[in-house]
Amino acid sequence: MTRKKILIVPTLQRGNGAPEFTKGLPWADYGGKIYRSMTFKADEPFIFYSSLRLVELTGVRAATLPELAGQIRAIGSSSIYYHTHHFVRQHLHLAPEPPNDFAYWVSAALGDEPLAEELSSVDIMAYSSIGSIRESLISIIEGALEKRPRLRNLTAPEGEEFDFLKSVSFVLPTDYKARDLEEFSNCLRLVSLDSIYFHMFEARLRLERPTNDFSNWLAASLGEEELAVNIVRIDPYTQTGEGIRVNILDILERRIMALADMRVPNRK
């Protein structure tokens, strides 16, 4: 999806007393007031994809912190993605929610709460690639080993080693497509959580797109830059999947209502 900058129509185009919209643009300036075409549709529809995940076992295990750091360094990015995101998919409905897999293991199998806390507070939103998340995890574990060398002696009990898994993602288009805000909002109500996860998480980190897909399309194809920024601001790592859906829908609804208020006056 290429990013297009949509400009507000610079000159007033008057027909019979009402603003006219230049073809392909959603805005018109009428007497100094900005109006938006409610019927404006994007040239390129937003196609909702879904990413369905199959979990593959790697057979790679770690029983100590040096082993964990070593394996995090060596393992493929599909594994890092899995262990920093699977809890979002699997456990975010739980209250209180468990942290990412590395933090959970350090707490449950090794019993070191300070390190577990440090690992659980890694701000995934602050990183733009799996590689940078990997480096951050290694740095936290190695930093702790340096500060507290006795951590090297901690070993997980038999059967409670850290098992490295990886995500195999199957990406497929759904039948849900939107060309304007209302269609987008309606689709968002119906798509599965897997679809929302794909566009919010996977597209950004795993496919290394600059931002989440929703914000990208809203800005580039509908000119809704502010709306896009508001969605970027949602922290998807601290709420349930349904919570993310409701949050985005709220932002969309508010914008749709605001646009209805800005409607062009009826021609008389």
Binding site: S50, L57, H93, L94, G159, D163, L172
Partner: protein, 405 residues
């Protein structure tokens, strides 16, 4: 027969839409499931639901059952126990019976589908047909093989390696096999007799049918009578609880056609329970409504397994929002996050303490139960299982980590 649309109120429209999209991608591929029993145990139960739904979605799926005599099932039970880590001696004679029976089944059962899906070790030898057919083969291991007896696993290893992929229920079961290994948890069917909502009258009638009064809190373990489910350990834990909380215990289960030991274990449990009118040992024929009602009548559900491939009875209890005390073994650890949606234990004493905590703190018990139900809704319903199996079939034709369909 339940239709796929009936799951929509539980899982939502989007999930069913995705199942249909996946089924479309499998058009033209046939799938053949093979296991060793049509009735009894979790595998048969899942296949009974799974195969018709796959067909309804448009996947050409079928299910065959291998045949075997009494000695074959003695051998497979020993192999099963040994893979679970028990100290079993499998004589060369029993191995001969095992492989001969596999060979005979292989001659009678044509595994010519595009994808052959073998469940558990009993029919593992059918993979010999792969050379001539050049189709895709998956071995679905429902057993906790994390501490498998080495010589038994080694005896099966050469056959396992002929498969294109293996599937396990928990990460700890993965081995250093050079084939792709996937993690797929089993599931329950929320619309089945065993899991659907029941009116209070049915629960009361069921208790009355077994002569159980509801005047004391009920602690229940539902499992077939099998040493690996440690029913005797459950009685010991109950006796420790009973010193502080006046409760009753139900041990309910049946026998499986492929488990010759279960009658013997049942007799041992009955003997252990003698003299206590508050212990109800129920040998039940397949009666899913009754199992459902007993689970719903319980204050606490226990699953004190020594080994556990997955532990569907735990899933069933969680789905009914029941507080669960279960051993920290095998697939149970995939289902229960300790203190988040249930309590894990490692011993009789640990189980007793956890049961007491739950019986004496009903608000805490309710909180764990509610979290448990949500956890099952998100991760362990049949629709998720159907999706994973279809993805597994598709993965046989795609080796990448990101697959665009």
């Amino acid at each position: 027969m339940v239709k796929i649309e009936e799951y929509e109120p539980i899982v939502g429209k989007g999930v069913l839409h995705e199942l249909r999209l996946l089924a479309e991608r499998l058009k033209g591929k046939s799938v053949q499931n093979v296991n060793s029993t049509a009735i009894g145990g979790g595998v048969a139960e899942i296949l009974n639901r799974m195969v018709p739904l796959l067909r309804e979605l448009g996947v050409d799926a079928k299910w065959d059952v291998i045949k075997g005599g009494e000695k074959f099932f003695v051998a497979t039970k020993k192999i099963h126990n040994a893979l679970h880590g028990a100290d079993e001696e499998i004589t060369p004679e029993l191995w001969d019976i095992f492989w001969d029976t596999n060979m005979k089944n292989s001659q009678e059962l044509q595994c010519a589908s595009d994808i052959v899906f073998i469940h558990d070790p009993q029919p593992i030898g059918l993979v010999n047909q792969k050379i001539e057919r050049r189709n895709k083969w998956i071995w679905r291991c429902h057993i906790d093989i994390s501490q498998a007896q080495k010589q038994t696993l080694d005896a099966l290893r050469a056959h396992i390696m002929r498969y294109d992929a293996a599937v396990f229920s928990a990460p700890a079961f993965a081995k250093e096999f050079s084939l792709r290994q996937f993690l797929i948890a089993p599931s329950l069917d929320p619309l089945s007799d065993k899991n659907k909502d029941l009116p209070l009258s049915v629960i009361e009638e069921t208790l009355s049918a077994y002569g159980i009064k509801s005047d004391k809190p009920i602690v229940t373990q539902v499992s077939r009578f099998d040493r690996l489910k440690d029913p005797v350990g459950v009685i010991e834990a109950y006796r420790k609880v009973k010193r502080y909380v006046d409760c009753q215990l139900i041990l309910a289960g049946g026998t499986a056609a492929d488990d010759p030991e279960s009658v013997e274990v049942f007799e041992q449990v009955k003997k252990q329970a003698e003299g206590d009118p508050d212990i109800h040992v129920l040998l039940m024929s397949q009666n899913d409504i009754h199992i459902n009602a007993l689970q719903r009548a319980s204050a606490v559900i226990v699953q004190k397994s020594v080994r556990e491939g997955f532990g569907l009875t735990v899933t069933e209890a969680l789905w009914k929002a029941k507080p669960v005390v279960a051993s920290s073994v095998g697939g149970i650890t995939v289902q229960i996050k300790h203190k988040h949606n249930g309590l894990l234990c490692h011993s009789v004493d640990g189980a007793a303490l956890a049961i007491r905590q739950l019986l004496q703190n009903p608000d805490y018990a309710r909180h764990l139960g509610e979290n448990g139900r949500e956890h099952v809704r998100q991760n362990f319903l049949l629709t998720r299982h159907l999706r994973d199996y279809m993805l597994l079939f598709l993965s046989l034709y795609n080796a990448e980590d990101i697959v665009y369909l």
